[in-house]
């Protein structure tokens, strides 16, 4: 029974890592197709990818959108959580519902709705419209994380600060935010990884400044290629670095 458990776990890990392992392994393929047999080790696909202007531009766009939209989502989510955790109003359950709602709607619908609205309002599609969409999907996440982290201890510290004459923005900036540093960082990094990887909103809401997932999508149209594997492996490396950094910096210290 005990051995069976470990076996199950091992098989589960194989299943979970299989596609990634294949992806990374065949990004070093010295041939034109990323499938067996392995024809030898080569870094030429990485060279090709790193020298590709369009891809690098898309990567820059992705990072920009991810960071800016995550900052906005974090600030809005934090303020909302702060207010809703303090005040008990009859409407607060409804407001919480509205704030969480985008989490339960598929990204395709959010993207279509925004496309319809921007179209009707005559707003030109750009990285800004993508960013607005990314704030919509990350705001509930930031809100939920911040809301869950607000505690009594914080409430007392804030009251003390107010008694000592701090203005409301000073309380937020110097007391509330530092006390919640770990959850705030977690919310921010999670938002960055989600935005950086988001496809459908970025695909529908921009025309010329594409983000990395959209650029990769267009690479797929030319069929299987080790170059796609190389891009994928690089994206994986960046995301994993972020996640591991988050684990080490935030969660280790939080304990």
């Amino acid at each position: 029974m005990r051995a069976l458990g470990w076996l199950y776990m091992a098989l589960a890990y194989v299943f979970i890592f299989l596609p990634v392992a294949v992806l990374v392994a065949f990004s070093f393929q010295d041939g034109r197709l990323p499938v067996p047999p392995f024809q030898g080790f080569s870094l030429r696909w990485y060279e090709k990818v790193l020298g590709d202007r369009d891809l690098m531009e898309a990567l820059g766009n992705s990072l920009l959108v991810a960071v800016v939209s995550s900052v906005i989502a974090l600030v809005l989510g934090f303020l909302a959580a702060h207010a809703l955790a303090r005040v008990r109003l009859p409407g607060s359950v409804l407001m919480r519902g509205v704030l969480i709602a985008p989490m339960t709607v598929s990204y395709l619908i959010i993207a279509l709705g925004l496309l319809t609205m921007f179209g009707a309002a005559g707003v030109k599609l750009s990285l800004w419209t993508v960013g607005a969409g990314h704030v919509v999907i990350n705001l509930p996440l930031c809100f939920a994380i911040c809301f869950a982290a607000m505690g009594d201890q914080q409430r007392s510290a804030e009251r003390a600060a107010r008694d000592l004459g701090a203005a409301e923005w000073q309380v937020l900036l110097h007391v509330s935010a530092p006390m919640l540093a770990a959850p705030l960082a977690a919310a921010f990094f999670l938002s960055v990884t989600f935005s950086w990887d988001e496809f459908i909103i970025a695909f529908l809401l921009t025309r010329f400044d594409v983000t990395l997932p959209v650029e990769i999508w267009s690479m797929l149209r030319s069929g299987l290629s080790p170059a796609t594997n190389a891009v994928g492996s690089l994206v994986f490396l960046v995301s994993v670095t972020l996640v591991v950094a988050l684990e080490l910096l935030v969660f280790r210290r939080a304990k």
Binding site: G5, M9, V98, I100, M103, T104, L139, L224, F236, E247
Partner: protein, 270 residues
């Protein structure tokens, strides 16, 4: 709080309203004519292509949700109860690490594994298990595998979070009272973790039924899902009103799923 509500209102509620308005319009040639016309909805529920896409989406989503929960629960339980505490975070991190490959790339890499010349076929051919390569890529099977891979990771995370909140005392008490391992699980552990499982399953349902990428890359174009049909209506036919109507239908299905699972859902505590 106000800025967040304004943002959600402006970029979520308002766009959705715009989409509902558009779904009641119709096309004349290539122009959109606004009005109140239920024609798009009638088509969504009578045109066999549309109905079939909805049914495909529902079938795939239900299969994926059930299979993912059944596979993820034991993994989460093994990590929570068998793995020594100091290794649990690492085990969990490992179990969800591929979650952070690019979503588009993750579907593509399953193509490398399942394709005609893919790793699985090469291995099976090499071992002499099969004589002809299996047709897995570009089928519903491939879509389901791709989805299950993604959601096993998500559900392992959410179910684990629930399992470690259980006090071991409950299980000890059940066993002291003579319950077998299975009875303890069936009558103590499962009911207590059900809300978390339902929350995870609901998220799986929502993300799965609304997803365009995985069916598009892995499923081929033989069997359309609802999101694929929506994209097709927008892209090839430029029929935005019909695409909007189909999106509203999609939203309706999700809302229905919400009410069916509402008893156990605690979304604000994910």
């Amino acid at each position: 709080m106000t800025p967040a509500l304004v943002w959600t209102g402006a970029f979520f509620v308002l766009p959705f309203a715009a989409m509902v308005v558009l779904s009641l319009a119709h096309m004349e040639g290539r122009a959109v004519v606004y009005g109140v016309d239920a024609g798009n909805y009638v088509r969504a529920f009578t045109d066999w292509t549309m109905v079939k896409a909805l049914l495909n989406s529902l079938e795939i989503t239900v299969i994926v949700t059930v299979v993912s929960v059944v596979l993820a629960y034991p993994l989460a339980a093994i990590i929570a109860f068998r793995v020594p505490v100091r290794w649990q975070r690492l085990a969990l991190l490992m179990a969800v690490l591929p979650f952070w490959t690019s979503y588009v790339v993750r579907s593509y890499s399953w193509l490398l594994v399942l394709g005609q010349n893919g790793v699985v076929n090469r291995a099976l051919l090499g071992l002499g298990v099969i004589a002809e390569p299996l047709e897995i890529a570009s089928t519903r099977m491939a879509t389901v595998i791709g989805f299950v891979h993604f959601f096993v990771m998500l559900l392992t995370l959410t179910i684990y979070a629930n399992l470690i909140q259980l006090s071991p005392n409950y299980m000890r008490a059940a066993q002291d009272l003579g319950a077998s391992k299975w009875q303890t699980f069936r009558h103590v552990v499962l009911p207590l973790t059900l809300p978390g499982v339902v929350t995870g399953a609901f998220l799986t349902f929502v993300l799965c039924i609304g997803d365009y990428i995985t069916p598009q890359i892995l499923g081929g174009n033989t069997e359309l899902t609802l999101p694929q049909l929506i994209m097709l209506q927008m892209g090839r036919s430029g029929n935005f009103p019909l695409a909007s109507a189909l999106s509203v239908v999609l939203m309706g299905v999700v809302t229905l799923a919400y009410f069916l699972s509402a008893k156990w859902l605690r979304l604000d505590r994910v």
